[in-house]
Amino acid sequence: MKVTFKKNEQLESDAIVLHAKEKNKEIETIIDYITTISKTIIGKQNNCNFSIPICDYINFYSSQKNIYGTTLEKEVTISYRLYELEAILPANFVRISNTEIINLNFVSDFSLTNNGFILITFKNGKKSSSSRRFLKKIKEKLL
């Protein structure tokens, strides 16, 4: 793909315009990428608020009625409930259990344990587990 950058002072400060011959899968991926990196979710750590791009989150999970988000650098508290996050997160995030949503871009491997848990290994070595009934949903997201 040949990319040309043209400056346009008339555009709003948070706007980008893409021109291409037709809208195909590549273009859609680019649009998804731009939307994801520009969206942020506020995370709290030691009473400090951080505005973190959505694509930096590895997972969101609930523990004792609190919602936490993990990135490569830190773990923060999130003020949304999991079902609210499900509604606003882009397609690369998927629910893997009653208590966790993960970012598929950070998954390195899936495996099945001997007693039938789905073990998910992330690129940073962390692990999460899921149950059989979520496999179909994960598969749909990976298509």
Binding site: S97, N98, T99, L104, V107, S108, D109, F110, S111, L112, T113, N115, G116, F117, I118, S129, S130, S131, R132, R133, L135, K136, I138, K139, L142, L143
Partner: protein
């Protein structure tokens, strides 16, 4: 969650009665007695009134439907492993179904019958466990293919 449980109970009652009715009609037909019996003769003999016999049978069918439909929630709402789900489902259905089946005189209350029933029941669950694990393994492999190819 409460609504889901109520809906599950309701669908358990309706499907329980429907299946009970179909099976009892089939067995009545096969017995060639020209009469409909909701349950085996040994059960009917406990009642001097056919209406009571029918009402109690419908209650038993409903109860079995409720046991099976509620236990199916184990597979749909928990995050458990295949083994924990299968074992819990086995226990809940066995404890819930066996007393009702014995009460309805579906099989005589002697140890031989109960042992044969239990072995068949256990075998079905062992086969189910293998099928669940096989399917999960296949799904996991296809997930890995997808994630490594992209």
């Amino acid at each position: 969650m409460k609504i889901k449980i109520m809906k599950t109970i309701f669908s358990g009652v309706t499907s329980g009665i429907f299946i009970g009715l179909c099976i009892s009609m089939l067995f009545s037909y096969l017995s060639k007695s020209n009469y409909y019996h909701p349950a085996p003769q040994a059960f009917s003999n406990q009642f001097d009134n056919e209406i009571t016999e029918m009402i109690v049978s419908v209650l038993i069918w409903s109860a079995i439907g409720i046991v099976f439909s509620l236990s199916s929630l184990i597979f749909w709402v928990t995050d458990w492993s295949v083994t924990k789900m299968t074992v819990t489902h086995f226990c809940v259905d066995y404890i819930g179904f066996l007393p009702l089946a014995i009460y309805a005189k579906w099989f005589p209350l002697n140890s031989r019958e109960i042992i044969v029933f239990s072995i068949i029941y256990l075998l079905i669950y062992i086969i189910m466990w293998f099928i669940f694990m096989f399917l999960a393994k296949k799904e996991v492999a296809s997930l890995n293919d997808k994630i490594h190819s992209s």
